[in-house]
């Protein structure tokens, strides 16, 4: 991350959003909204005094996943790149009540700028890699797991903060009451492989749940109950890790945890079926960790239409071919990296992202794009400018020229011919699949059979 931040050929725009994309492979014009941090980026030294002195404290729903607090002026997380804070205008006392400005007073560099406004940047790029990541499925949607009814029912991501040395408990695994748990339950597949939520497997929860089981055993010595449907230890050295964790004295229950009940004394009762024993089982525990599903980002719709991406039925962005073109998309010059295309763990994400970057570099090195000769061309004389073809094109490859006539961009056209069949004026020709060629085939074949 630091290398990316320092690299002379990389311009890092964090706290920014793509607003508009036009053009085509090799020649994209992108409009980026660089949101106002309220910090002069070239002046700030990243010392952190502002964060220290800020009097306003709020629950951090971002990096801390609700497990810790942050200030109204804050760094996204320690060692964030770039090392710049941001003022959360919804919570800052100056922005909400008009007075405070403690950070401005304390900043030794004079880097605070309350008047800063969003900036619009127009950049020209040759290729785009979409790496927008994933969202976490909200477990309150399945009320039988009682998420939200007890502070000791947490998600896997929240547990990550709890066990992290930089987290709210400095890495100690503690219940909300501040005590070491004696018994902990982990439930897999919350929202995954479930016809009431997401039908697909979220792929990496099994492995992080095993890691959590190991960390709980290692740090607290608590009894761990691991409710799983199938253990998917699919990667290199993963099965070996599973075997190692099995030897650490963890109770594995084969069968999905069905329900979590909050008892009157605050303890949690996890019920489920042990399919190996063929019996219903229950365990009273102090903490429950839900391995919640991975899902597409909530704004995946907007991002898909912005970059012209298709989506698979699970909502993730669609690759051009599931096996042979896993990082390309249906829009030439736009590539996918990581979980925005589907759930994958860290090694797979790194490999996928490397492939996407190389596909982009390959485009640049070639300098030219090879396209198939089967594309559509418009006869401007016959075109009446009705625009039906523009609506029918799945690739937005057709636009109006200066005279209101349709014009096909050969770099974007894939040659499906849908516009040809749609054009009421017969003004579009599909090269190598012309009407005359097809009619000649029809007549020839029928004559042959006559």
């Amino acid at each position: 991350m630091m290398d990316a931040g320092r690299h002379p050929n990389i311009t890092l725009l964090t706290y920014s959003e793509v607003e508009q994309v036009s053009g085509y492979v090799g020649n994209f014009q992108v409009r980026i909204r660089k949101r106002a941090r309220s910090i002069k980026e070239d002046v700030c030294t990243g010392c952190g005094v502002c964060q220290e002195k800020c009097p306003r404290r709020v629950v951090d729903m971002g990096f801390e996943a609700g497990m810790g607090r942050r200030k109204a002026i804050y760094f996204a997380f320690s060692q964030s790149i770039p090392n710049l804070p941001v003022i959360d205008r919804e919570n800052c006392l100056y922005f909400t009540r008009g007075r405070c400005k403690v950070c401005e007073k304390e900043c030794p560099a004079g880097a605070i700028d309350f008047e800063q406004e969003d900036q619009l940047l127009d950049v020209e790029v040759g290729a785009i890699v979409v790496a927008t990541g994933f969202g976490m499925w909200d477990p309150t949607q399945l009320p039988q797991y009682s998420y939200g009814l007890s502070p000791n029912i947490i998600t896997g991501l929240q547990f990550e903060r709890l066990t992290n040395a930089g987290g709210p408990t400095s890495g100690e695994i503690l219940t909300a009451e501040g005590e070491k748990p004696e018994r902990v339950a982990i439930i897999h597949c919350i929202g995954s492989r479930d016809e009431n939520a997401h039908p697909y497997c979220s792929r990496f929860c099994c492995m992080y749940s095993l890691k959590h089981a190991h960390q709980i055993r290692d740090k607290t010595g608590a009894e761990v109950y691991d409710f799983y449907m199938d253990m998917r230890a699919f990667g290199k050295a993963y099965e070996e890790f599973y075997e190692r964790v099995q030897e650490e004295g963890i109770t594995f229950v084969r069968g999905k945890g069905a329900e979590v009940e909050v008892l009157s004394d605050g303890k949690l009762r996890v019920k489920g079926e042990d399919a190996n024993l063929g019996r219903l089982v229950a365990a009273d525990v102090d903490m429950v960790i839900l391995a919640t599903a991975v899902e597409p980002q909530p704004d995946a719709d907007r991002v898909a239409s912005l970059f012209g991406l298709g989506r698979t039925p699970d909502g993730f962005f669609a690759e051009a071919h599931p096996k042979l073109r896993p990082v390309e998309t249906s829009t030439a010059g736009v590539f996918l990296a990581g979980n925005c295309q589907g759930p994958r763990d860290v090694p797979d994400t790194v490999a996928h992202a490397g492939a996407a970057a190389l596909e982009a570099v390959r485009l640049f090195n070639q300098g030219e794009v090879t396209i198939s000769p089967t594309i559509a061309v418009v006869d401007a004389v016959q075109c009446v400018g009705c625009g039906e073809c523009i609506l029918s094109c799945p690739y937005t490859a057709i636009a109006r020229d200066g005279n209101g006539k349709a014009e096909v961009n050969p770099a974007l056209c894939h040659g499906c011919g849908t516009c040809v069949a749609t054009c009421p004026a017969g003004a579009i020709t599909a090269l190598h699949f012309t009407d005359q060629e097809i009619v000649a085939q029809i007549d020839g074949l029928l004559e042959m059979m006559a």
Binding site: C416, G417, A421, I442, L445, L446, M449
Partner: protein
């Protein structure tokens, strides 16, 4: 109508799914009727109503349009056009006195070689039962 009538069927197959499905049916040595005259198009969305009508005018007893399953189109949404277009052409056929069952739209993916064989066999039998189109036009 007699039992020796062999209908002539023009089949428009999309390059990515159905043509490959037909190919695979051949590779797997599945039996499919020789009455089917395949014409490769890049997408089922390329098949215009004029082409279907032209096939009937040139003497086809039936026309089969096969494309990728909805959601699986190689061209994202080309077959969305096909699914709207073919029922309209069927209506038109009924209007001009051609039995609409002589036109069939179905989805065959490249992995569905058995389905290709099944759909073509079924359709040939359907058209065989309807008889030659020339007789229908005379009535």
């Amino acid at each position: 109508m007699n039992d020796t009538f062999e209908p002539r069927i023009v089949a428009f197959l999309c390059n990515w799914c159905s043509y490959a499905g037909a190919d695979n049916a051949g590779i797997a040595r599945m039996e499919s009727p020789a009455n089917v005259l395949p014409i490769r198009v890049m997408c089922s969305g390329r098949v215009s109503p004029e082409m279907i009508l032209r096939a009937f005018r040139s003497g086809a007893d039936g026309v089969l349009v096969l494309g990728c399953h909805i959601g699986d189109c190689h061209y994202i949404s080309g077959n969305h056009r096909t699914i709207k277009r073919v029922p309209l052409v069927r209506n038109l056929l009924g209007y001009v006195g051609v039995n609409p069952d002589r036109l069939r739209l179905d989805w065959v993916s490249s992995a569905e070689a058995p389905k290709f064989a099944k759909v073509t066999r079924e359709f040939v039998e359907t058209v065989r039962a309807l008889g030659p189109i020339a007789e229908e036009m005379e009535q």
